[in-house]
Subunit: 360 residues, 2 copies
């Protein structure tokens, strides 16, 4: 079964400042292993999918960097959005490209900046989802939760699919999507056992998702039809630049998935993390015996559960502090309490307000 992975690399998050910058967002950082997260995302696909069938969707500011990073992929497989319009238009645009190659081609939408500890199990889950997609479902992958995470959306698992065979054996209907819960609700979900983390991974046939978009978001459906008519013609770029910015900026979850009757979920457990902030690094990286993640010229004395990234070619000493994040990016330094790591965006906002373009 041929799968067309489409990697969504349009993110421009600010929660990894000062490592991340406007021209080097999270997906270009090697936050977990030696590879930038985008490269690791592509690397873990074979033998499930071939580089020739793998697509990357990103913004114009990052297209050159993405091409340079992913030399195995054909140039035509880099789909450049003229501007960011959330995931619904992104998915629609990607589906057009796949449909141009195979009308009923199976698309696996993958975030570019998530970590997977066990790639083999990941590929098995995507393959199971692909078998369901082949039969017309929109299959998402739900991660079995092991903590009351408030940073993830959840899926409420519904009835088990009736079909026989390996593909359907572990799959369920999705009863509903749930927004990021508070910690009490998250604990209830964890105890309940019928909630899964929404991994943001969706697998579907190109023709199916385009049909679902036309049903749930008719305006976007029309806009995609205009773009589709231009695909492969000299006017495509001009049409895309005219039409795409007008597309509604809505997530595929909200715009389509939550309204679709075709949604099924494959529960899985492959060491997934969305690596949402520096605070997540101790969960996905090696720590010392006191729980510290230390990188580069870092020196931690009498400290536990710290994240110290000394990338500035100079020593960074941390003494008598627990649960802190200390990042030296060379041209900027950040110190933040680990449980406030998501507030790093406030620094970026303040630096932007002060016009400090050189460190944004």
């Amino acid at each position: 079964m041929k799968i067309f992975p489409v990697i969504m690399a349009g993110g421009s998050g600010t929660r990894f400042w000062p490592l991340s910058r406007r021209d080097r967002p999270k997906q270009f950082l090697a936050l977990v292993g030696d590879l930038p997260m985008l490269a690791a995302t592509v690397r873990r696909l074979p033998p499930l999918a071939r580089p020739a069938d793998t697509y990357v969707v990103c913004g114009p500011a990052h297209a050159a960097a993405a091409r340079k990073l992913l030399r195995d992929l054909p140039a035509a497989n880099f789909v450049v959005e003229p501007c960011a319009r959330n995931t619904a238009p992104c998915v629609g645009l990607a589906a057009l490209h796949v449909a141009a190659r195979e009308k009923r081609g199976i698309v696996a939408m993958l975030p570019a900046d998530h970590h997977v500890a066990r790639p083999e199990a990941f590929r098995e889950a995507v393959a199971a989802a692909a078998r369901l997609a082949e039969a017309g479902a929109i299959a998402t992958i739900g991660i079995r939760p092991h903590a009351p995470e408030t940073g993830y959306g959840y899926l409420k698992v519904g009835a088990r699919l009736p079909g026989k065979g390996k593909a359907a054996s572990h799959a369920h209907k999705v009863e509903r999507f749930v927004e990021k819960p508070d910690v009490v609700t998250a604990a209830r979900y964890l105890a309940d056992g019928s909630y899964l983390w929404n991994s943001g991974i969706f697998v579907f046939r190109a023709d199916v998702i385009l049909e679902e978009i036309r049903r749930a978001m008719p305006v976007l459906g029309e806009q995609l039809s205009v773009i589709q008519a231009s695909l492969g013609t000299p006017s495509h770029r001009r049409v895309l630049a005219r039409v795409f910015p007008d597309c509604p900026s809505i997530s595929i979850d909200y715009g389509v998935m939550e309204k679709s009757q075709r949604i099924v979920v494959v529960p899985a457990d492959f060491g997934w993390s969305d690596v949402g902030s520096f605070a997540a690094l101790p969960e996905v990286r090696e720590t010392d015996h006191l729980g510290n993640v230390a990188e580069g010229d870092a020196l931690v004395i009498d400290g536990r559960n710290n994240v110290v990234l000394a990338n500035g070619k100079r020593p960074v000493a941390v003494v008598g502090i627990d649960d802190a994040v200390v990042v030296d990016a060379g041209d900027a330094v950040l110190v933040v309490r680990r449980d406030r790591a998501q507030d790093v965006r406030k620094v970026v906002e303040e630096l932007a307000r002060r016009g400090r373009e050189e460190v944004l």
Copy 2:
């Protein structure tokens, strides 16, 4: 009354790393105002004493820097110890130099790295101590405590001096010297009212201190006599280099003051601080309305009572943390909890162990 201030600038402390280094110890740092502490110490003396009468004692590694910093002082007033031997030999050597100019010259020994918020009150206290010294006393200045400080030594105040006149009116005998207490004892001292902080400032006649040294530390007395005989001769430097390293490494407090019957104390209150570590900076520097000391390109968001010194020509952002010290010295970064600031020396020890000479 002529006073010969002698500034003890031989310190090589490590508690201000990474700002302080072997070749730039604390007294050369502008920790409080715009001036390096040594320069501020000299600057606050006039009109109490003249630059021509002011001496600086330091080690060979810092003599050139001290001369460069203090161009008002005659070259002959820089007394270079061949090696550090604590304060008793330092005081003895300084007294020899002053005695060579005036046998009964009044010497005011002053640490080079303390802060004084009210110089006028400081000069008044030293002048009062000098009047007592003129009459043969060894006068120390005791600071009225306003907190149960565990980082300072204390003086137990004894009987009020019987003499009349302004000089004696506020002076007391010293009942005893007390080592740095624990916090319970310090609180008791504070409540008691008869304990003062030992400022480390001593005022005495050159002939008196030399006599007291000979009485309490006869070996050092002999060694000083050998050095004294060479003063002003071509062989002085050679004699000093031979004799001084053999002098006992003992503090003047322990070696002489605590055994002397001539000790009196002038209670005073001139906004004194020994600025013992980064943790002391909020007490002696301007803070923002949340108690933060911020210097250079520092950005504190949702944080209180932090010390953020961004001296590295790049932004240092601190988010969601209280009571932290963050120092960027350009070629090294330090993060330490404020109440652990004295443990910065552990970093220096560890870097020394690793042979990181370039940042020591």
